[in-house]
């Protein structure tokens, strides 16, 4: 598979289809990979593929530094490719501006990442080329997809509150969660705005609560569950639990799962004159 990826990348760079390939390279330690940006065909050997390829490389579509490298080809797993569908729907990218090298995937992380346990996108839903053997994407039942929430949902209201208070207390406001998120693409994040000061910048309980809740809410009905926020959190806040809870509520309310079908209307930003909700009219 690595060879196939390298060959594909080399071909795309050589024939000028793309200027850069966003892929995975060897990391600091064997248990890590890192994003690499291959601009020269002779560098494709820097590309690798293994179970540590956890990153969702679509996040580099929002960064000016990597955008400047020119039209990219992205190596994307099924979960990551869902981001592309959301970004297209939200008009952040044009389809012709990205080339997708989809990879079929049996799961990443060691131990296996939580997101992989109920994966229904082993084969990406959108790609220009597919590397790896095509696999059937079996539907996973609703309950199974949100099994991670079972224990949490059993908690009493006040215990949930206590749980999050304890978790958010740890927050140091490094904003790794939002910076890594491919869907946190606001040019100026709400936390960077101070007129009015919506979110206290301090990492005290009030500031941390408002930040973490606002971040999660902004992803409700948009988050594609790549778990990157949780992976990068230096203080180990289970951010994806929050994302997942909101995803579940969004799915229940709107029967919508982001990043599956390019023809689906967005849950949170679709206007209809005959909307069920009065406040829309």
């Amino acid at each position: 598979m690595i060879e196939e990826l390298r060959k594909k990348a080399e071909e795309l760079l050589k024939n000028g289809t793309v200027k850069v390939v966003f892929g995975y390279g060897e990391g600091s330690v064997p248990e890590r990979t890192r994003p690499v940006f291959i601009t020269k065909p002779e560098d494709v050997n820097k590309l690798t593929w293994n179970k540590y390829c956890v990153y969702n490389l679509t996040t580099y579509l929002k960064r000016q530094e990597t955008r400047k490298l020119g039209k990219p080809a992205l190596i994307l797993k099924g979960c990551d490719a869902r981001t592309i569908i959301v970004l297209l729907k939200e008009c952040q990218i044009k389809r012709e501006d990205v080339y997708i090298i989809g990879v079929t995937c049996d799961g990443v992380g060691d131990p296996l990442a939580e997101k992989c346990k109920a994966c229904d996108v082993h084969t990406p839903l959108i790609y220009d080329d597919l590397v790896g053997e095509k696999r059937e994407n079996k539907e996973v039942p609703f309950e199974e997809r949100y099994a991670e929430l079972d224990e949490y949902e059993k908690l009493e209201e006040k215990d949930k509150w206590e749980f999050w208070q304890k978790q958010f207390e740890k927050c140091i406001k490094c904003y790794a969660c939002s910076n890594i998120c491919p869907l946190c693409f606001c040019d100026r994040c709400i936390v960077e705005k101070n007129q009015p000061q919506w979110i206290d910048p301090s990492a005290h309980p009030r500031g941390n609560l408002s930040w973490n809740v606002t971040r999660a809410y902004h992803l409700a009905g948009r988050c594609i569950n790549c778990e990157e926020c949780q992976r990068v959190c230096p203080v180990d806040i289970p951010l994806n639990l929050l994302n997942k809870k909101l995803a579940k509520e969004a799915e229940k309310s709107f029967d919508y799962r982001p990043g599956y079908n390019i023809d689906d209307e967005l849950a949170m930003s679709t206007y209809k004159e005959d909307d069920d909700e009065d406040f829309f009219k």
Partner: protein
Amino acid sequence: MEKTLNKNNFDSFITGLKKQGYKTIAPKKDNKLVTLDEIQDANEISLDHVITNNSIKEYFLPKTEKILSYTIEKNKVEMKEPEGFAVKSVIFGSRPCDAFSLPVMDKVFNWDCVDKFWVERREAVTIVTISCDKFDSYCFCTSVGLAPDAKQGSDVLLTKISNDEYLVETVTEKGENLVKELESVFSDPPSGTPDRQVATVEKKFDIGKIKPWLDDNFEHDVWDEFSHKCIGCGACTFVCPTCHCFDIVDECSMTKGDRVKNWDGCQFKMFTMHTSGHNPRNTQGMRWRQRIMHKFKYYVEKFDSTLCVGCGRCSRVCPADMNISEMLEIIETEAGK
């Protein structure tokens, strides 16, 4: 002064500290993390980690702290000084790299004018360090002139000499006083040369080659190339024991408020942005260069210290696996060209 401390006596040591009115902070396991945190009991202490996830910094420069409180009534403002921020404490079981960050940071917080929030805490806190008997591939203390059993910055240094025994060396008068205060928990020093169980951390680069290269290479492709993967968050700077940059903001209601000092970091694009929108460090490459330059050139020129203790935390937490010692190895290679 030299003594020994048996692991079995940790309990009485911690109880003793409590009796003497010290708040005790020690490495504590919390799910996947080991953090320096307040403990009540010796069995909360974790000893089998390489390094704590958080650095010692937050006990001297907290992630957020009040530097002024005030009340506003019509057009009358009354200011109140924050109190009680310097609490008599012992930090037990921090690492030598963390301890060394303190005298390094003393320099900037005492530069010309004294930041009392730092200095008063420094006076109130006693540092009891445990030498490292293990390390991981991110550690590079020896490359920045330190050692896994370095004493600078500690008041007392503990070094493992057998499975359950530590050699206790007092480094400062403050440390000596602490040991005297709790004399009964310590034993006499061993006769002969004890077998100090100290990790051997390999040198990764020659620090002597770094600054001369930085002096000449403010403009260099490596800054952009290396930082393409950087996502522009503050994880590296916030876990760093020597990154001391901060923001000052006001938080208030209609009638009262606080002026607050918060951690801030050079990797954020907003860090240097003028109100006009002009930004002197407009790209991540420039911001990454600032981080390296500040640590290995600017601080050296200003204060004759490297602003890095080789703890490796920034590399461990980096969401994109930016590895600072790797950057320095690249610089070393470039310098040799």
